[in-house]
């Protein structure tokens, strides 16, 4: 959107940020359901949400400057930096995997299938959400670490997150990557066991998703971005502090039943939503190094060059 500053009168107009996000998104639920908990929203900035079904689509829209801010994960970050050569910065975190004992995507198998560890997978079929995605890489790294050749020793197929659990039960696959809220549901149903998590694969907890912004946006609307980040962290704090209300709002937006959410949302069984919004560059860099070491990435990328935490508010 065009937003030129035109003297004093115009400066009062809120800036509109087009934010690319994935489904389901934490912030989207609270920004739309509970604007009352926000401080700057509608005053210094407004948001036009664009929901993407995958991080790939989100990245190309971001690269084409059709969104100002966008959700990002590690592989799109590397692509944005090395292939698209975009001028962008990651400004706050969204979800972290495995930090502080929080949930990380778990690869599950049938309890009675004999698959208990990665090495048991020889000759079996494993399902991930998308080949070439970060979970696919995690699986491959894990297999290689245990002396198995992906694709020849283990067949890797794709399935959508909501169906992977049922596919395991239905013996269509022997292992599948399970995220929340499905992990909670599968646990409740029973009969599946955890085999490993992404933390085991990457040998580190990881920032899973984070928000990136174009350099130009950060330069032109620094104050508004700061206000947005401030509001975002407000929703997180509010969520942690008012869990039941948060569950209700989240359920209303995404139609996930409240009882499912009550089981995990914003607890240790969930990925971590950090109150401080800090992106842990060290952890992120460790993931990159693992990818380089295992040959999935040709050369290393200095992640810190693409992270700018200066938009986070000073400690409250």
């Amino acid at each position: 959107a065009g937003h030129w500053g035109f003297g004093v009168a115009q400066a009062a107009e809120p800036v509109t940020f087009r934010i690319g996000t994935a489904i389901p998104d934490y912030a989207y639920a609270f920004f739309t359901e509970r604007p009352d908990i926000l401080k700057h929203y509608g005053k210094s900035y407004k948001i036009e949400w664009v929901k993407f079904t995958g991080s790939g689509g989100a990245l190309s829209a971001f690269a084409a400057k059709k969104v100002d801010l966008s959700i990002m994960t590690i592989l799109p970050l590397i692509n944005a930096a090395t292939k698209y050569r975009l001028d962008f910065k990651v400004i706050h975190s969204q979800q972290d995997h495995g930090v502080d004992g929080h949930f990380a995507t778990t690869f599950m198998a049938r309890a009675d299938s004999g698959v208990r560890r990665a090495e048991d997978l020889k000759g079996k079929i494993a399902g991930v959400n998308v080949r070439g995605g970060v979970l696919d890489l995690a699986l491959r790294i894990m297999l290689m670490k245990h002396g198995l050749k992906p694709d020849s020793d283990v067949t890797i197929v794709e399935g959508q997150f909501p169906h992977l659990g049922a596919m395991i039960r239905d013996k269509k696959i022997d292992l599948g990557s399970i995220i929340q809220p499905f992990y909670s549901r599968e646990q409740k149903k029973g009969g599946l066991i955890d085999v490993f998590t992404t933390v085991d694969a990457f040998e580190t907890a990881q920032p899973l998703s984070f928000r990136a912004a174009h350099g130009s946006v950060l330069k032109e609307h620094a104050a508004a971005v700061r206000d947005y980040v401030d509001d975002y962290l407000r929703t997180i704090a509010w969520g942690h502090d008012h869990r039941e209300e948060a569950v209700r709002a989240y359920s209303k937006t995404w139609k996930i039943p409240e009882e499912t959410l009550m089981d995990y949302f914003l607890t240790k069984k969930d990925t971590l939503y950090r109150r401080d919004g800090v992106v842990d560059v060290t952890l992120l860099q460790k993931v990159v190094e693992t990818l380089v070491r295992t040959g999935f990435l040709k050369e290393s990328v200095d992640v810190s060059k693409y992270v700018d935490l200066s938009f986070l508010p000073a400690k409250r």
């Binding site: 995958g54 790939g56 990245l59 190309s60 690269a63 084409a64 400057k65 592989l75 799109p76 692509n79 944005a80 292939k83 698209y84 050569r85 975009l86 079929i125 998308v130 080949r131 070439g132 995605g133 197929v157 794709e158 399935g159 959508q160 909501p162 169906h163 049922a166 596919m167 239905d170 269509k172």
Partner: protein, 281 residues
Amino acid sequence: MAQGKPRVDVDMASGSREPAARRWAALRWLAAGVAHYFSVLLFFGLWEFVARSGWVNPWVFPPVTVSLAEWGRSLATGDIFHPMGLTLLRALGGLTMALGVGITLGLLMGRYRLVEWFFEPLIAIGFPAPKIAFLPLFVLWFGFFNTAKVLIVFTSCIFPLTLYAYHGARSVDRFYLWSALSKGSRGFALLRKVVLPAALPHIFDGFQVALIVSFIVAFVAEMVTGGGGLGFEMIKAAQDAETPRAFAMLFTISLLGYGTIKLAEWLRALLLFWHIEHEAH
């Protein structure tokens, strides 16, 4: 000049050609070829210009020459042929199955009230349903590999095929039917000998549409559920931010489709040579 207007039989007079004139003819043929594909060249030219103008990030929207070069590379190394074969197999496999079932069902619906009563509303409600949403179910039932994708192509193609055949059967000139009925044709013979040929122009419309649908659905099914093929390769390339490669996949499906569509048109001219539409060609 108008193509329809002359509608006259081809000029009979065609003298033998001199060798000198033959060179001219070759040149003219070349010129006609360029003229024929002028729109494509124009489109590519525009694309190239825009991509190089700096209005868009050239990594996101690479110049057409870069994409074509990548395409040429994958053709040269041959690594595109395997996915190409997979997609072709799924598309044409599903289409072939749908042809048999769809045309038969459509013709039956057009001729028998009971069949029409039962299937017509089902077709009307099943057609606008997004088949892709049922892909997971297909995968559950039929596995990850070709079967599920072939079947999703089948389910997608069957609707247009049935609908066109149905309308074709319904608009058969009643005098053809009466003539056949009074010569003792009944049931299947009537269907095969009169309704089918009379509805053939409609059926071919449906076939041409279904052909395109089959390519699109096979590709999209591969995009969504993987398992190799052009669609899968394209989504993978997009994920890896290898945009030229993604375009190469699109070129491939487009050209594959173009070839088969032309083949279908040729088949149409062959089978419908008796039909008046043939006169205008």
